[in-house]
Amino acid sequence: MEKALQGLRIIDFTWVLAGPFATRILADYGAEVIKVQSEVTMGATQHNLSGYFNTWNRNKLGIALNLSQPQGIEVAKRLVQISDVVVENFSPRVMRNWGLDYHTLRKIKPDLIMLSLSGMGQTGPWRDYIAFGATIQALSGLTYLTTFPGRPPLGLGYSYADHIAGLMAVLAILQALEYRQKTGEGQYIDLSELEAMSTLLGTAILDYVVNHRVASPLGNRPAHRIAAPHGAYRCKGEDRWCAIAVFTEEEWESFCRVLGYPSWTKEERFATLLDRWQNIDQLDLLVEEWAKEHSAEEVMTLLQEVGIVAGVVQDAADLSQDPQLKARAFFVELDHHILVKASFDGSPIKLSDTPAHFQQAAPLLGQHNDYVYHHLLGMTQEEIERYTKEGVLI
């Protein structure tokens, strides 16, 4: 099978989640991604044998390169010369301090595409702010809004914004590749994770701009529309839940039929969608009384079979056994030099002619030094040995 990004080479200076998630997608579709690491600067998230590292760095080649040495910078520039794209997610001053900023690199490689991903962007009064996914979620309004009405904010509890920034980064690079295809020119992309995240809150932002309304938390109620029931309902078993959403009168009729028309379904207060919406707290309690008598899987199946939107609130163990995910080969397994087997979520982008390839687990530190330095850059074995001894290729 062909690969969509065959022949594209990417130098990957990214770390933690957002950047590696982005370059992983590019690698899954055939780009040759060369991940630059150094034992000198490696932190915990970069530990090559951790599950976390492995997950976000499969399909990439790994080299060791010490950028705190001038010769290390020179080697990096030689790599840029033979590459299409540079991706980095350091604090804004880092690449500049190394002399690896876009203005320098484009002199070496005129049609270079370079993407810098940072919390706040490369300019502005907050450009040096330190940000992780949680920081961005808080600043964007997402954390404030993700809770139950009347409760303090809860937020998402994980780095969702890093995924969003990573996806936007892939989109930006592919967009710049289209432009290069058309004009022969490269360009620089300044991605602010805060801005990327904010584009996913567009309706709430417009509501403020146009109506001066400040959005408030909705719990599990739908945003911008009405539906009832609409939420997660406790089912039989320990911490088992099923999400149910009933949008139309037809669906409500089917819902009542599945429940066997208990008397409350005929009461005035639940007669129309608007009635049910206005009395949704009372409705929730009654729906939950019914749900608790069944397993979450039963609730989902009973409702889906009559065309009602419902789904088990799945935990990690459920996901690993999910029949739908299995049927579509969502999880994949690869051999790993030391971990023996490494398992991953695959790719949700199913392309008919150029599907994702899962060829190799994440690299060990410097695993592909020989291929990259010898075969790609043409260094002799002596040079490689000398540079290694001098602390450049470590």
Partner: protein
């Protein structure tokens, strides 16, 4: 249209046949410069009825959800249930590079408009199908929505508190994440088409998209058989938590730069016993985290969010105020970078600032070329000028409910 250099997707024609699952995907392509034609049923798309509305007056031309998700698109009306409507669509598909669609699997096959049929007469066509569960598998005919995708994708289970039900993230994140993956798939197929000359089908499952954007959930389970659970605002790895301030909430990191943090608390006489040597050991900190949280809370309650964030950031703590949408709008960083983009709405005799570019490209900037289309706004332009229908024919099509 003749901007020097042009935008990235200029000249690319996209037919947008999508509901909420793909509406953002087509917007992303439109704001990149593609000629996106939104195909709505006569009378307008159901997503026009989603609130909020300008001035809270429900009206199909005043929906802010619709406005935001349809910038830079043109719009036509077409009844796909009618033979004539299908015929017109087929002619449009002949001119299209990409279709973004979200119909239940099998629906387009009934109309003989499925990818297998269409590629026969337009082999360069890219068809991006964004559905609840994908085109295959035992759940392919099941229904979903933003809530249920979040549930079945493993996201809800890890959001919320131990004493609350699982919690759906605010907004319509599942729809938008699916759209993002869909847009990436579309551009991957487009890139490959430059070399192969052939289009392909992009099959996106909303459930899978969520299951691919839940950071620790799969990793922790696949490597250590640990099921991540919801634990309030405390992040899964105990790195961050929310704390109450005098004027709201602040996100603090718990254990980063421990000595600096304790010195700061101590300078205000609020470090309590955390000054003791034993607290410097990471394992002990983690074991006794509830006590650390208590001490920090006594301290944060005396401060405002701005004091803690600004001072904290100066000292390289990754802290943030928990902001409302109003505060996002007032954010000096976004304002300085010109994030918000003005979009003219002549019918409202006003312009409104929208969230702008998700990233800044130096040579081919993102832009909103026009506000969302009115119902059937470009019927004349597209059916008349491009497909060659006369004004009489167009009037007749409208009369018979085809457009």
């Amino acid at each position: 249209m003749s901007l020097l250099g042009g935008s990235d997707l200029q000249g690319l024609r996209v037919l947008d046949l999508a509901d909420e699952k793909g509406i953002f995907c087509a917007k992303l392509l439109a704001d990149m410069g593609a000629d996106v034609i939104k195909v709505e049923p006569p009378g307008g798309d159901p997503t026009r009825n989603i609130g909020p509305f300008v001035g809270d007056e429900p009206h199909p031309e005043r929906g802010l959800y619709f406005w935001y998700h349809n910038t830079s698109k043109r719009g036509i009306t077409l009844n796909l249930e009618s033979g004539e409507g299908q015929e017109i669509l087929r002619r449009l598909i002949g001119t299209a590079d990409v279709i973004v669609e979200t119909f239940p699997p099998g629906y387009l096959k009934e109309l003989s408009l499925d990818y297998e049929a269409l590629k026969e007469f337009n082999p360069r066509l890219i068809m991006t199908s964004i559905t609840s569960f994908g085109q295959t598998g035992p759940y392919r005919d099941y229904k979903s929505c933003d809530l249920v995708a979040s549930a079945l994708g493993g996201q809800m289970y890890v959001c919320g508190d131990s004493d609350t039900p699982p919690l759906k993230p605010y907004g319509e994140q599942a729809y938008q994440v699916a759209s993002l993956f869909g847009a990436i798939g579309t551009l991957l197929a487009l890139y490959y088409r430059h070399f192969s000359g052939k289009g392909q089908q992009v099959d996106i499952s909303m459930q899978e998209c969520i299951a691919a954007a839940i950071e620790p959930v799969n990793v922790r389970y696949l490597y250590d058989q640990v099921v991540v659970r919801r634990q309030g605002s405390l992040q899964w790895n105990n790195a961050f938590r929310l704390f109450p301030c005098r004027d709201g909430y602040i996100l603090l990191s718990l254990f980063q730069q421990w000595d600096t943090l304790i010195e700061w608390l101590d300078s205000e006489g609020l470090a309590a016993d955390l000054k003791e040597e034993r607290w410097r050991h990471p394992e002990f900190q983690l074991k006794e985290k509830e006590h650390v949280i208590q001490v920090l809370e006594q301290w944060t309650r005396r401060h405002t969010r701005a004091e803690l964030m600004e001072q904290g950031q100066l000292m390289h703590f990754p802290w943030a105020a928990v902001n409302s949408i109003k505060e996002l709008w007032d954010n000096p960083q976004l304002l300085e970078r010109g994030f918000f983009a003005e979009v003219a709405h002549p019918e409202q005799e006003a312009s409104f600032k929208y969230p702008g570019a998700p990233y800044k490209l130096s040579r081919s900037p993102w832009q909103v070329s026009r506000r969302a289309p009115l119902i059937g706004e470009h019927n004349q332009q597209i059916l008349g000028e491009e497909l060659g229908f006369s004004s009489d024919e167009i009037a007749d099509l409208a009369l018979r409910g085809v457009i």
